[in-house]
């Protein structure tokens, strides 16, 4: 099933990528090309096969570790300044964004 312009607009909105009409048309063609490539998956009989999320599960039982939910970094002004240094817009130790709530 080929993607139409509305499909691509919806995907781009979900992906938060602003596409101009020309780029959207190009994306539509490219994505349909890619879908043609990955569609071959559908022909494989995978009944009863457990989806593999972690590659080592072919080797051993995988248990992902969890850590204690606690602060691990020592807070300091210097550390905060380092973290904020990359922010495109910041003031008084806060990240600035457009107003979200009226």
């Amino acid at each position: 099933m080929a993607l139409n312009e509305q499909d691509v607009a919806r995907i781009a909105r979900l992906a938060r990528i602003d596409l101009t009409p020309e780029r959207r048309e190009r994306a539509r063609q490219e994505l349909n090309g890619i879908l043609g490539l990955i569609e071959r998956l559908q022909a494989v009989d995978t009944q009863g096969v457990e989806p593999m999320a972690h590659p080592l599960s072919a080797h051993e039982e995988v248990v992902l570790r969890l850590r204690e939910d606690e602060v691990t970094e020592t807070p300091s002004e210097t550390r905060r300044a380092e973290l904020m240094a990359n922010a495109p817009a910041a003031r008084d130790g806060l990240f600035l964004v457009p107003k979200v709530i009226e």
Binding site: V8, A27, E39, V49, P55, V100
Partner: protein
């Protein structure tokens, strides 16, 4: 020749440093000159001579104090997806054009602790997505064997820097072949270890269930020297796994292969998948790989034909799973806490959407869009879960081969030698198909390496290298390195050097040291 190359590999270099025949500062100064002299390669993105020299002075101090680490004074460089405090980290993306990390990646920390001296950060495809290095926002690195050819990717700068002798080794990352393929195309050795053996902490994330760091270097022995300090458990990476490291397995295998005299690999069973030698394989690459297999037989190994029936299906499985994980991982680039932000926008959503349209290059946008689609409501089962089921079948195919038929698997890394720069520009998925021999290994999480095994044929391909892929079972990278070392003991492909341009380079008046 760069100074560090004149001591015969990392072991020789370390011995020379310990015997004070050369200092880390001399090596670093010479490597910095070499890097500046090969700006034509576009291999390095960020160089900070003062930081490099400071690390070199620290290495000399440790050596003088009798506390040298395993890599003290050895010049290396990092793919620009490992975050570093000193050097910028861009991941080859406009999105991170000015990003300076507040911390070092685990790999960077570990190699610095081992004493290695970093020359800086290496070019790569944007967010490690690509196989020609042409998706880098800074333009592609060049293949030192032929400036008209791509160096491969995504660790293209890493492979080019090692091939040109600018550094003794470089770090890379491999999600679907990004260490092995550039190593093959640039005629150097590279290894992707077992998933979980090297920490991903501080590695800019692409496909987290696939991403694995590994070194590129001149030889299997040099790879072992760098991989050993790189690998190891790290609690900051949820998928890091404790294991004994590559050294013990290497020692066991090297000992076994040393006892058998003229046929040291007697008893080694090499699985050769018939699907790796089909129509898509170029004749010149096939001939070089077959010649390498014949060499292994002379060393005593036995060749066993095996089947990996889902080899081609690895392409669709990978190009669902990797983009899906990428779309999730790259959601963090929103122009709020770091990275590019669009100049003009109205509300928050417009700010994020314009930021991402401007910050991501075409290949990254394609993969994020397709990844978003396969994870979206109504398509998740048909694409994503189906790809994960196929992933298990692919992993089981490898396990079947290793269970009864063979000890290692060998075949080509890529179907052709390096293509020309600019080829495939009109067809974004043409390069994807060329990943056919590396993707299955990545989906299965197995260790695999590439070693130089010859060149293509004809006036153009004849100077473009070919790599042999050697795949092992989980955590068997030590054996892979020992097997490759035996091959490199009787062949000299890994010792070949591309010609260095003589005329006009800024290095020409600095070579008289």
């Amino acid at each position: 020749m760069t100074l560090h190359e004149t001591f015969g590999g990392i072991a020789g270099l370390r011995a020379a440093l310990d015997q004070r025949r050369v200092s880390a500062v001399e090596l670093a100064q010479d490597a910095l000159r070499a890097v500046a002299g090969r700006a034509d390669l576009n291999a390095f993105l960020h160089v900070e001579p003062e930081l490099t020299l400071a690390q070199a002075r620290a290495a000399d101090a440790r050596i003088a104090a009798g506390q040298a680490g395993p890599l003290s004074g050895v010049p290396i460089a990092h793919k620009d997806v490992f975050v570093t405090r000193g050097w910028r980290t861009t991941a080859g993306s406009r999105m991170l054009a000015d990003y300076v990390s507040p911390y070092d990646a685990a790999v960077v920390e570990r190699l610095e602790r081992a004493g290695a001296v970093s020359l800086g950060k290496l070019n790569c495809d944007e967010f490690a997505m690509g196989s020609g290095d042409e998706n880098s926002a800074s333009g592609p690195a060049r293949n030192p064997w032929d400036p008209a050819a791509v160096p491969g990717g995504s660790s293209g700068g890493s492979a080019a820097a090692v091939a040109a002798g600018l550094v003794a080794a470089a770090t890379g990352t491999d999600t679907g072949g990004s260490v092995r393929q550039p190593a093959a195309l640039c005629g150097v050795s590279g290894i992707k270890p077992t998933y979980g053996s090297v920490s991903r902490f501080g590695m800019v994330a692409f496909g987290s269930s696939l991403d694995q760091a590994g070194p590129l270097a001149r030889s299997a022995s040099d790879l072992l020297a760098v991989l050993e300090p790189m690998a190891g458990f790290d609690e900051r990476d949820a998928t890091s796994r404790p294991f004994e490291g590559p050294r013990p397995g290497y020692e066991r295998a090297a000992q076994a292969y040393a006892q058998a005299g003229a046929r040291p690999l007697e008893g080694l069973r090499i699985g050769v998948p018939r699907e790796y030698f089909g129509n898509g394989l170029a004749a010149d690459v096939g001939a070089a790989v077959q010649a390498a297999l014949a060499e292994f037989e002379k060393l005593g190994a036995r060749r066993v034909e095996i089947s990996l029936p889902r080899t081609e299906l690895a392409i669709p499985a990978y190009y669902v799973i990797a983009p899906a994980e990428a779309s999730s991982n790259l959601a963090r680039y929103d122009g709020v806490r770091y990275g590019h932000r669009a100049a003009e926008y109205g509300d928050m959503i417009e700010m994020v959407s314009r930021t991402r349209a401007e910050g991501f290059g075409p290949e990254v946008q394609r993969r994020v869009l397709i990844g978003t689609y396969v994870l979206s409501h109504g398509y998740y089962d048909a694409y994503y879960l189906q790809a994960q089921r196929l992933r298990r079948l692919i992993a089981e195919d490898f396990q079947r081969a290793f269970a009864g038929q063979c000890d290692v698997i060998m075949g080509p890394v890529a179907p052709t030698v390096a293509r020309n720069l600019g080829e495939n520009r009109e067809d974004p998925t043409a390069d994807w198909l060329a990943d056919v021999y590396t993707l299955g290994v990545s989906l299965a999480g197995l260790p695999a390496m590439s070693v130089p095994c010859g060149f293509g044929s004809g006036p153009v391909n004849g100077r473009r290298p070919v790599g042999l892929q050697i795949v092992g079972n989980y955590f068997d990278e030590g054996r892979l390195l020992a097997v490759a070392e035996r091959y490199q003991a009787v062949t000299d492909w890994h010792a070949r050097r591309p010609e260095t341009p003589r005329c006009g380079g800024p290095s020409s008046d600095m070579e008289s040291r």
